[in-house]
């Protein structure tokens, strides 16, 4: 099977569609945004359900506080903005107002990662996984394409408790089709191999698939798994892969600290230590440029994943 890069919609577009369906299904779903509804796609819900939508203005702290009040009275608030603004400016409100009281608030951000592109580093969230993962009780979801985004966001609405979902601005290569099925907390085995496991999340999942093709040409048989849920982690799948391949590459559009690589390698070091390599941003912000230029410059392509796999296989062989 060869991997074809067929572009789908952005995961934020899937969020807009999921919200409209949720609005039809559940009268308790309410949506608020902090003046970025055209970008996050919450405006789709706003047009369909103006009575249950408030674009509150540019105030992320108040946004989270309002959601706390709504959730404590039984509503299911979805709140959205760019990942960097909501998670950084609203973080302490998420901590005391949502995570601590374990409230049913759904935080769905857009513009995750550096594929934001030309707007530059202040708009590109490279730390939101770490922030969300360190909110006790939060489920943390990073969909890889439009189909997984729509399905997982719809499931999140019916999951009791706080959820963080990161979506992307850029159109995403399709990993799935509309018939694909997903379960929050359950990773997806996209390809079975015996030499090395490529673990992706978000846009890097497709890069892992493509990297497996590059590796195949070099005689390396790679597994690919999509960890669309960083918390709770699909430990069974990761353990099984570690026992099969004995070498991991974790790839994410995030700092290499505190995200996918951290949770996967922490689990492995406890249960079944194997050599790991990490593809992500190495202690840096990015800059302005086209999404593709940035992903290339900052080492987030299938080529980078394939090179990391070759490095980790050297570790594996030298053990």
């Amino acid at each position: 099977m060869s991997v074809v890069r067929k572009m789908g919609a952005a995961s934020r577009d899937a969020y807009g569609k999921a919200l409209v369906e949720l609005g039809n299904e559940n009268p308790n779903v309410v949506v608020m945004d902090a003046d970025l509804s055209k970008s996050t796609r919450t405006d789709k819900f706003g047009k369909a359900f103006p009575d249950r939508f408030i674009d509150i203005g540019i105030q992320e702290m108040n946004l989270v506080g309002l959601a706390t009040g709504l959730a404590s009275c039984g509503k299911i608030p979805f709140i959205s903005s760019f990942a960097c603004f909501l998670m950084c400016k609203g973080y302490e409100q998420l901590r005391v107002g949502v995570a601590f009281p374990e409230l049913n608030v759904k935080v769905v951000t857009s513009h995750g990662g550096i594929s934001v592109g030309e707007d530059g580093a202040s708009q590109q969230s490279v730390e939101d996984f770490a922030l969300a993962l360190t909110l006790p009780g939060f489920t943390v979801i990073v969909p890889s394409d439009e189909h997984s985004a729509k399905a997982l966001i719809k499931q999140a609405a019916y999951l009791k408790g706080p959820v963080y979902v990161r979506t992307s601005r850029a159109n995403a290569a399709l990993v799935y089709d509309e018939k694909s099925e997903f379960k929050i907390g359950k990773g997806v085995q996209l390809r079975k191999g015996k030499d090395v496991t490529l673990v992706g999340t978000g846009l890097l999942t497709f890069e892992c698939l493509e990297a497996a093709e590059i590796l195949k040409a070099k005689g390396i048989d790679a597994s690919v798994i999509d960890i669309h849920t960083l918390k709770p982690l699909d430990e069974a799948l990761i353990l099984a892969e570690a026992q099969t391949t004995g070498a991991f590459v974790c790839a994410e559009e995030h700092l290499t600290f505190g995200g996918l690589g951290s949770v996967v390698s922490q689990f492995l070091s406890r249960k079944h230590p194997v050599p790991c390599e990490f593809v992500g941003l190495n202690d840096t912000y990015a800059e302005s440029g086209s999404p593709q230029e940035l992903m290339t410059k900052y080492g987030l392509t299938s080529q980078n994943v394939a090179e990391a796999a070759q490095r980790v296989l050297q570790h594996k062989r030298s053990r």
């Binding site: 009575d51 108040n62 506080g65 009040g69 039984g74 409100q93 005391v96």
Partner: protein, 294 residues
């Protein structure tokens, strides 16, 4: 539940309220004396307001703390929670004796309120500046659900330093939140010193007016003034309303009044005895409490 006496025909029993306020002040001193740490000043400044709210004005049912149509209260100045815990206990949410477990490992009565642990607490607070937003969120829920409950916000003066308060203030007036009555416990001190010395927010009344709120200034220890102002603040038709309650930090205990050393420091054993004596507690009870202090 407690709204019966608001009917004009039933006169408000201010003597009863005054006795309850005294009980709450004694509880606050006992709790903090035994705990050995905590915040007396801001507990005592809010005591009279909490008394009239819980025992005269708010619609609530201590036997049904999750009643969906109840009024909510977001106690945004979470550090003053000993007074809130006492008001809840004396309303019947839990036993008065359990107040003495404040701040102990395993006690539901955390150093700052935890909504998951205590019946009658409507929001976890303790990080200043967040409560007004939360109360407004509850008000939005009432609006979405076409319910008539109120979500009260009790905020502190130090909190006015926080930007989030003003985000919430702007939102509330723009969206005509008439179901979020607010009260400012203006005791004029924050942790580091007087509000004037730290970050003077005066003119406070003008600031709220500029943000589109209707204001009323009262003596926050005069039960009649508090009662009338609470009736006023809850009957907004359009613009949000806030009571600016001028209070005295440490009110009721002579050596704590306007003494900011008691912002976040509990009374010693001797000070506990002295304070309880001033508050008219009987000698047997004082001896019992002192016996619980290490």
């Amino acid at each position: 539940m407690t709204q019966e006496s608001q009917k004009k025909s039933v006169p408000v029993d201010f003597e009863r309220l005054s006795k309850i306020a005294l009980d709450i002040r004694r509880d606050v001193i006992k709790m903090l004396g035994i705990a050995g740490n905590g915040h007396p000043g801001g507990s005592l400044s809010a005591t009279d307001i909490l008394t009239v709210l819980y025992f005269q004005i708010m619609r609530h049912d201590p036997k049904n703390s999750k009643w969906v149509d109840r009024d909510r209260l977001v106690f945004s100045k979470g550090h003053g929670c000993p007074a809130l815990y006492s008001a809840l206990a004396r309303s019947g949410y839990f036993s008065v004796e359990s107040l003495l477990t404040l701040r102990k490992l395993g006690s539901p009565l955390q150093g700052h309120p935890d909504v998951r642990r205590v019946a009658g607490i409507d929001a976890s607070t303790g990080s200043l500046g967040q409560g007004l937003s939360i109360a407004i969120g509850m008000g939005l829920a009432a609006r979405f659900d076409k319910k008539d409950y109120l979500s009260w916000a009790l905020i502190s003066d130090g909190e006015l330093n926080e930007g989030q308060i003003w985000e919430a203030a702007a939102f509330a007036s723009f969206h005509k939140m008439n179901n979020v009555p607010a009260i400012l416990d203006y005791n004029k001190f924050q942790l580091g010193g007087s509000c004037k010395e730290m970050l003077d927010m005066e003119p406070v009344v003008d600031k709220w007016k500029a943000f589109g709120w209707e204001t009323k200034e009262i003596d926050g220890h005069d039960l009649r003034e508090i009662h009338d102002a609470l009736l006023w603040v809850k009957s907004s038709k359009s613009a949000p309303r806030i009571i600016i309650a001028h209070t005295v930090k440490g009110k009721g205990v002579s050596f704590m009044e306007n003494n900011n050393n008691f912002h976040g420091v509990a009374p010693t054993k001797d000070e506990t005895a002295k304070a309880l004596k001033e508050l008219g507690e009987n000698d047997t009870e004082i001896a019992r409490i002192l016996g619980m202090i290490k």
